[in-house]
């Protein structure tokens, strides 16, 4: 290929390249636009479905944590259980409730006489309450005369049925 031929060829190729720019038909753009929208819609639906599934899973997990029969209870349940069977003669003010693990419970609780007929304890809950001195005396605690009229802080041991099994003094 001599120089003249090469020049002719390059001129021809340039002329071929310089043709009016060709475009794909508008149909291609329409198809792509429709596909893009369909995909975006699918993607939105997927995101919504994933979010909803996440919320449902979280709700289920919370429900399991709150209602499963584990040694952990909500304070409101404890309050209700404590009020169901108060110590004889004691008005349970239920000022404060504590959640304590079963294995931490030692035998430091004074067993209540009426708890002897109850089923054995499987899971327990300790409720911190303020009791009048008189109710402690009814339960068999010997209180000195200098105990006064001030309420005494105590912890009541509740079983899985919410019934009191024992009591111990904090103060």
């Amino acid at each position: 290929m001599n120089e003249h031929e090469q020049q002719q060829l390059m001129d021809g190729l340039r002329a071929l390249a310089a043709l009016e720019p060709l475009q794909a038909s508008p149909r291609v753009e329409q198809t792509l636009r429709a596909t893009f929208r369909a995909r975006a819609e699918r993607r939105r639906r997927t995101i919504w479905a994933s979010t909803a599934a996440g919320f449902l899973a979280a709700a289920a997990a919370i429900a399991v944590l709150f209602f499963a029969p584990v040694p952990w209870h909500r304070n409101t349940q404890a309050q209700q259980a404590a009020s169901e069977r108060p110590a004889p003669g004691a008005s349970v003010p239920a000022a404060q409730y504590a959640v304590v693990r079963t294995d931490e419970l030692a035998s430091s609780f004074y067993p209540l006489p009426e708890a002897d007929d109850l089923p054995p304890v499987e899971t327990t809950l300790v409720v911190r309450v303020q009791l009048p001195v008189s109710s402690l005396q009814l339960m068999g605690f010997s209180m000195g005369e200098d105990a006064g009229a001030e309420p005494v802080q105590a912890e009541v041991l509740l079983g899985q049925d919410g019934l009191a099994r024992g009591v111990r003094l904090i103060q």
Partner: protein
Amino acid sequence: MLESPSQPSDGDLLRLTSAGDEKAFLDFYRRHQGAVFRFALQMSGKAEIAEEVTQDVFMVVMSAPKQFDPRRGSAGAYLYGIARNLVLRCLEREKPYLTVLDDPDNEYSGRLAGEQDIAGEFVQTERIETLRKAVLALPPGYREVVVLCDLHELDYAEAAGVLGCAIGTIRSRLHRARALLMEKLRAVERCAV
């Protein structure tokens, strides 16, 4: 396929596309579809193949806009690479049916002749048409180098990136392709005489 400084870059458009921005995708499409379409048409000689390839190229972009990495080359080179693979697949698929050299209804030929006849440059038109046919008659490996380097004016490095080969390979293929084109043109001229 050049970007002006005031326009968002191809990378920006594709980032927005991946976030579901339809306008960004359409801007990207409008910026590049002409070159992709022309490349596919010059490689295949069939407008229907060129349209199919153009659509498929941008479907690929739509599906995975994050696959484009500006550090590895321009968006144009990235699109040419996809288009080239799709064109070769189409040509392979339609091999038994392709008769580009003698096809009187070839749409590319029709467009070219129509445009140039209006200008009244019959001789020039005939010469360019002969050259176009000669390009289409080249083996695909040579044709793609001529289309990229001579018709789309990519430099050797860019063409090497598109075709996934060494710059030296591009250079030698281009040299050989031009020689083949000259042989074909000489043969046509001899027949005309």
